[in-house]
């Protein structure tokens, strides 16, 4: 980290991308005009599991305006299957074709694609495609998946258990034996979906003359997507351009190359016509990507004063029917970072992942979201069991500043984090002791208040080693370029894919900082693979940390060269003492700044148009590129406190107060960071209270509309009180830590713990989400305080 204080980084500048978005001038995929484009509509399986006996498209093809009806057999000629087979012990390799050829595996599985003049006609035609199915027994949940003699979701596998990993360090059995008490808890999270308000969609243009494919799509990861798309279409990476302009939210749903998009691209090439597809909401709910359906159990060996001796974790995840990612990818992070801020050295886990006849799972904002609930719920369970104060139990186990860096039992190293400080700040803010008094008074009146604590240690900016171990095609590094044009205009780019994070603002501040110019003169170009350098995209809360650091370093390279030119022009031997400040070269002498009269623009002109004036041996131009590989993992941390009132008669939960103390290091843009904190907490609360992707016992999806999939609205959410803290990460050139997922983790845990606190007088514990009124009533029924 540079010792100088930042002047641009950390400034609260309103976002630069706002204007176009506020005035209706954004360019989301579906806004891009493509003359002559045909529209795709997918025929989807009404069955959770069935053999495809026959597909008859005659009636559909006979309709004027219908260009084609494509099936799995067609696509198999034009594309290669997806094989997910990283060398990970306990993980079975799997493969899927572009569209199913022999059988469908979930309700909503695409079986054919109609291409027609417009979407209306395409839907008419899709209704006329006759598919004959032979239904198979369906696997509706994880228990069924593991049952003896059950149907196989993927017939190439020996069982539905697609992945199983075990880990143990220390001696958890010994710890159990010596424990004063062994506390067991369960945490069951339900199936959810990302629900970006802009659904998926794409437009593919095949240029037959140049043999080039352009795919307009909203993507978080343009380059990795290009690699996959090119490979699966048997094209070279130089034959494919991905263009992703404005993206209406991603949250992890816009990472994978899905079957629909590949089909549309292949259709465009086959038909030599532009083809576009805009997913409708029903498709998005049924068939885009789901997440989070997992059951965790913990067993904590504790002393009589609540100290953790040993911890065991079991995870069973329902991954759905298809693996777009290695099946162990999401759950393994939970197991890896479970212990968070707590000190324990004896730890063991088993992670099992099963396939079921439901939509496939993928990472959703905080793929490890359940972690903090599991750990903090375990802390509460210990407090309940030992009749201790939950805050006190946390204090007794939490790592202190002097003990950092601390190595978790899994080998993960946490450093530069502040769990005690954030926890104390948050409980002070809510006046914890007074709350307990108010709570007691309310109970006497028959009102049930609850307060939930949740400390979060958020894994961010997953490093290259993580990706390699996880078997994800990708890495942790990022790439950037900065180009100062002859006029002094600054262009810059990096390989991230924006979907609302305000990159154009935050990164112009980073470049402005590095160059010593006004951020307003910097333009950030994102999302086009022909323009941007090959980067790893936006996932795993890495944008600010990996992206910001790369860009900063790149801008510093540029700054260095420009100051060297300035030194030459000034007749100095070296650029020592020279600095670029607000676009002017100044000389610092004994703390005084003296204007040299040389401007940024003048240096740019010289670099391009007067190379003879450059220092000897210096190449002309101002064109810089750079990559940067961050440390294996960067941790940020937070403490969440949630206060609720539970109406015990109806089971309704009302959030009265929500406080977050979060430490995410150096902040690039406080405006953007606060927005991310709100959004993440909102997503966590919404998921824990309302959202539920529900399948019935026959594995039929019964959540086909937004009247069924309930997302929190403005009346469901509280005002968030944020206490920002900034302990810089020493592992990062700028000092940033990732963020934007931890809010989800904290919210899930804080709300659950708060509800359980409110339920406490009745002697019941909610072990399941969503914390719906009918579930809470089912716990309360027949119970008295």
């Amino acid at each position: 980290m540079p010792k100088t204080r930042f002047t641009q980084i950390g400034r609260a500048i309103p976002r630069r991308e706002d204007r176009r978005l506020l005035t209706g001038n954004g360019r989301y995929v579906d806004d891009i005009e493509i003359p002559g484009a045909l529209h795709a509509c997918f025929v989807r399986s009404p069955h959770p599991h069935a053999r495809i006996v026959r597909i008859d498209a005659k009636a559909a093809l006979a309709m004027p305006g219908v260009a084609a009806v494509l099936t799995g057999a067609d696509l198999a000629q034009w594309t290669t299957p997806l094989r997910v087979a990283p060398p990970i012990e306990g993980l079975h390799p799997v493969e899927m074709t572009t569209l199913p050829v022999d059988k469908v595996r979930f309700h909503g599985d695409p079986v054919a694609c109609v291409i027609a003049r417009d979407r209306y006609l395409a839907e008419d035609a899709a209704e006329r495609v006759e598919v004959e199915y032979a239904p198979l027994p369906a696997v509706a949940n994880a228990d069924q998946a593991l049952a003896e003699g059950t149907a196989l979701v993927d017939e190439s596998l020996p069982s539905n258990l697609v992945s199983e990993q075990r880990f143990s360090t220390g001696d958890v059995f010994a710890r159990r034996r010596e424990a004063h008490r062994v506390v067991e808890s369960a945490f069951s999270q339900h199936r959810q979906t990302h629900l970006p308000i802009e659904t998926r969609g794409c437009a593919a243009l095949w240029d037959e003359g140049r043999e080039h494919l352009t795919l307009h799509i909203g993507s978080q990861v343009p380059h990795p997507l290009r690699t996959q798309l090119a490979a699966r279409m048997r094209l070279s990476e130089s034959q494919v351009t991905i263009s992703s302009l404005d993206v209406g939210g991603g949250f992890g749903q816009k990472i994978a190359l899905y079957r629909e998009e590949l089909t549309v691209a292949a259709a465009s090439r086959h038909l030599r016509r532009p083809v576009r597809w805009r997913e409708d909401r029903m498709e998005n709910l049924l068939a885009a990507s789901h997440a989070r359906e997992e059951l965790c159990r913990t067993r904590a060996a504790v002393t009589d004063d609540g100290r953790l001796l040993g911890l065991e974790l079991e995870i069973l995840e329902d991954f759905g029917a298809y693996c777009f990612y290695p099946a162990n990818y999401l759950a393994r992070v939970v197991a890896m970072i479970l212990t968070g801020p707590y000190k324990v050295s004896d730890y063991a886990f088993v992670v099992r992942v099963v396939l079921t006849n439901k939509c496939g799972s993928g990472p959703m904002r905080a793929p490890m979201s359940i972690t903090s609930w599991v750990m903090e719920g375990t802390m509460d369970a210990i407090a309940r069991e030992l009749k201790l104060d939950p805050l006190e139990v946390r204090r007794r186990n939490m790592v202190a500043a002097a003990e950092l860096p601390y190595t978790m039992p899994t080998g993960e190293v946490i450093a530069d984090i502040t769990p005690r400080e954030t926890l104390e700040a948050a409980v002070t803010r809510v006046e914890y002791a007074q709350f307990r008094e108010r709570q007691a008074a309310a109970r006497r009146e028959g009102r049930y208040l609850g307060l939930g604590l949740c400390s979060v240690v958020e894994s961010t900016t997953y490093g290259s080693r993580f990706y390699k171990a996880a078997g994800i095609p990708g890495s942790g590094h990022e790439a950037a370029w900065v180009r100062i044009e002859p006029s002094g205009a600054v262009n810059a780019s990096l390989g991230l894919g924006a979907s609302g994070q305000g990159y154009e603002t935050a990164f112009s501040q980073v470049v402005g900082e590095g160059l010593g110019v006004d951020p307003a003169s910097v333009r950030i170009h994102l999302g086009n693979t022909d323009v941007a350098p090959y980067g790893m995209g936006s996932r795993g809360a890495r944008g600010g940390t990996a992206g910001g650091a790369t860009l900063f370093l790149c801008a510093r390279d540029a700054n260095e060269k420009m100051l060297a030119i300035a030194a030459k022009l000034l007749g100095f031997d070296s650029s020592e003492g020279l600095r670029m400040v607000e676009g002017k070269v100044v000389r610092e002498v004994l703390g005084e700044r003296i204007d040299t009269g040389i401007s940024f623009a003048q240096l740019a002109r010289t670099a391009y148009l007067d190379p003879t004036a450059l220092p000897a041996g210096m190449a002309p131009g101002l064109d810089f590129s750079r990559t940067y590989d961050p440390p294996p993992m960067t941790y940020s941390n937070a403490a969440h406190v949630c206060e609720v009132e539970l109406d015990v008669e109806t089971g309704a939960v009302r959030i009265l107060r929500y406080v977050v103390a979060e430490d995410c290091g150096t902040v690039l843009s406080p405006v953007v960071v606060e927005g991310q904190q709100h959004g993440a907490v909102a997503m966590g609360l919404s998921g824990a209270l309302l959202e539920h992707m529900l399948y019935d016992e026959a594995a039929q999806n019964i959540t086909g509309s937004l009247a069924d999939y309930l997302v929190a609205t403005a009346t469901d959410l509280p005002r968030f009180e944020i206490l920002p803290m900034h302990t810089p990460s020493r592992g990062n050139p700028v000092g940033t830590k990732g963020m934007a997922e931890g809010g989800v983790m904290g919210a899930i845990g804080a709300i659950s713990n708060a509800v359980n606190d409110a339920l406490a007088p009745f002697g019941v514990v909610a072990e399941r989400q969503p914390l719906s009124p009918d579930y809470l009533r089912s716990l309360l029924r027949g119970k008295t305080p």
């Binding site: 204007r19 209706g24 001038n25 209406g248 939210g249 609302g500 909102a682 609205t713």
Partner: protein
């Protein structure tokens, strides 16, 4: 299927449209009038992204057939900033970071442009109540509420 010809008045401009009667107002605005600021998030009335004004009143454009709009005046997000100057609500949303991905924003602006005419001094509770008809997955709503309050207290 048979198309019909009709005239549509959008943001004070007349558009000659030829479309099937079933063509939704969202699609006619976006495709025929080339006004893509009105977004589509669900096509069943829930998300509010497609909200436009019909004769000054907010309406879900995904639940209207364009052909129904003969003789009515439609206002979309494209008409809210005047001569390049953002409306007070747009300006406030910008200043307090009331939008992230921006996909929901047009619907929210349209809803409140109308609502604040009817009730220029709403409480936070009333604002949240009206805002509950628009889904936003990014912001947690707080800064949107803040922006409306800023306009109300200006």
């Amino acid at each position: 299927m048979d198309t019909v010809d009709f005239e549509l008045s959008v943001n004070g401009e007349r558009h000659a449209v030829r479309a099937e009667p079933r063509k939704l107002l969202t699609d006619v605005l976006r495709e025929d009038c080339r006004l893509t600021g009105t977004h589509v998030g669900c096509e069943h009335g829930v998300c509010g992204a497609c909200t436009v004004l019909v004769d000054g009143r907010p309406a879900r454009a995904c639940l209207l057939y364009a052909v129904q709009m003969r003789g009515h005046e439609i206002t979309t997000i494209e008409a809210i900033a005047k001569d390049g100057v953002l409306s007070p609500l747009q300006q406030a949303l910008h200043e307090v970071h009331g939008l992230q991905c921006g996909f929901c924003t047009a619907g929210i602006v349209m809803t409140f442009e109308a609502y604040l005419k009817e009730n220029p001094r709403p409480t936070e509770e009333e604002i949240r109540d009206v805002l509950s008809g628009n889904l936003c997955r990014c912001t947690g709503y707080q800064n949107i509420v803040e922006a409306v309050l800023k306009v109300v207290h200006a």
